[in-house]
Amino acid sequence: MPRLVSHPDEVKIVTRRFGMGASKIDRYLELDGYASARKALAEGSDWIINEMKASGLRGRGGAGFPTGMKWSFVPKQSAKPKYVLVNGDESEPGTCKDHLIFLHDPHAVIEGTIIAGLAIGAKMGFIYLRGEYRYLIENVERAVAEAYERGFLGRNIFGSETEFQVIVQSGAGAYEVGEESALMESLEGKRGVPRIKPPFPAVVGLYGGPTVINNAETIATVPHVLAMGGAAYAAVGSERNGGTRLFGLSGHIARPGVYELPMGYSLRKMIYEVGGGVRGGRKLKAVVPGGSSTPVLLPEEIDIGMDFDQVGKAGSMLGSGGVVVIDDQTCMVEFALRTIKFYQHESCGWCIPCREGTDWLKKSLTRFHAGFGTEKDIDNIQYLAENMMGRTFCPLGDAAAMPTLGFVKKFRKEFEDHLHGKPCPYAHHPEVELV
């Protein structure tokens, strides 16, 4: 069972019910569960969307798109049925927050899905979890069955004339399926190859119907937004970044774990106070601020607030909220290699810049790390990555290129240290001596 952590600076909104037995419906109801869905049912679509807009909640899946606005794009009238699709594919390295939500508070995801359905006028929602999360899939399925038993889901939810069905879906292993259009393909029983946009899912989505796709944390936040009121939720965060976020601290951090902190919380404090600093009293070398696809930050770049805009201004991205801390004994070439190895493995192969680019980057970095690189290789790696950017059908190509560029630009010296047949000057497995 994954360990829960806590810190006094946390503002527990989404994690409020963690560790309290709330995955059982009676306990969830005791803790004010399903009150927001009932209220949403009474107040109606416009009210929900207005509260969501006021909350400043931005998508927790990575891109940070404002949730209220996304919902408002769905046409009111549609010949085809509309759908809600909850993205629980959670596969971005460094990210494990949805794992905890599905474990501790599955009803919050179900309640949020109902509310999203009421907002856009959908009668059916899907909760898609990565296949590796079998025990969580079973937990969510069990919670869905409880909600059906109580009449919170079904033909007449909460005794009303409104219908809402929820289906829990298992994936079978694929990072790319987390990309929203690939996710729809997978749910339709196909390979996880993305679709060309436009049309956007809000207009033509699942089974051709208008579809809202949100990350599981985004959806689990929705009932809390309605309970607090959009404005009160917005006030917790920073400018244009409402509320809190589940930040996952991992890597060489003294106290790893998932912490719920206000948007805009200082990255320096997150590392040195919340996370207890670098493990073993070592020095900080670098931080990957938002999952493996976000460009690395240097120790002198961590005096920033962790929200979408401030991290963007610092040249990286808030991404999935997975903060990976790297100590001074880590080989950044090896880290870059492990990162690109992942993207090469996950590329769906549809477009050449991504398929070939990730493959060449992996080959070059492997050779380079082994000490067979040349000066020119460093420039070639940069050139390859630059030429992948913006030239692919889906953002996976950028997700592979961006961190690579960051590593080469910010750690060029470390690349040079590997030149001329020199063995890796950093320990191959840097943590060997530690503990």
Partner: protein
């Protein structure tokens, strides 16, 4: 239904399929979870499993194969009874994931995607399994083992070995 199909899937699995395909707006939506559940029961996606799933969904076996090859959890050869999946992605790598992987390789005498001669274990190096804050992490079939130390590797192998013996003698 053919006699072979009757014996291929247990009555529970067959019932699960029947319920699953009816739930979706489109039958085909059941394909990927169905393949995974069938694999859990049969061990891998044999030709017979693929034909049977294709028949139940109403698509061609080639179509099923085309989809199934995309997903990393689906396999076309048997794995061990306990498939050990070691994450070596960044958060795990920083906390010793590769050493854990090497240790499993040594203990079992097999490499990536290898199966032990007795068929009890198989080993895989996998990408992030969503347990980064509890690294290094592995999965044995669907069970997570978090915050692993090298010392625990032997204990884990012993535990599953004895489970396998119990299951075998039943």
């Amino acid at each position: 239904m053919s006699a072979e199909a009757m014996t291929l899937f247990s009555p529970e699995l067959a019932a699960r399929f029947d319920a699953l395909v009816e739930r979706y707006p489109v039958r085909r939506s059941a394909l990927i979870p169905m393949l995974l559940y069938a694999q859990d029961e049969v061990g891998y996606l044999s030709d017979a499993v693929i034909d049977e799933v294709a028949r139940r969904i109403g698509i061609t076996p080639l179509d099923v194969r085309n989809v199934a090859t995309y997903y990393s959890m689906l396999r076309f050869v048997p794995a061990g009874r306990y498939n050990i999946q070691v994450c070596t992605n960044i958060s795990c790598m920083l906390r010793g994931g590769y050493r854990i992987f090497e240790q499993f390789q040594e203990r079992l005498g097999i490499g990536h995607k290898g199966v032990t001669a007795d068929g009890v274990f198989s080993l895989e190096e996998v990408e992030c399994i969503g347990a980064c804050c509890w690294a290094p992490a592995i999965q044995v079939n669907y069970d997570f083992h978090d915050e692993l130390t090298e010392e625990q590797v032997d204990a884990i192998l012993d535990e599953y070995r004895s489970r396998s013996q119990k299951a075998g003698s039943r």
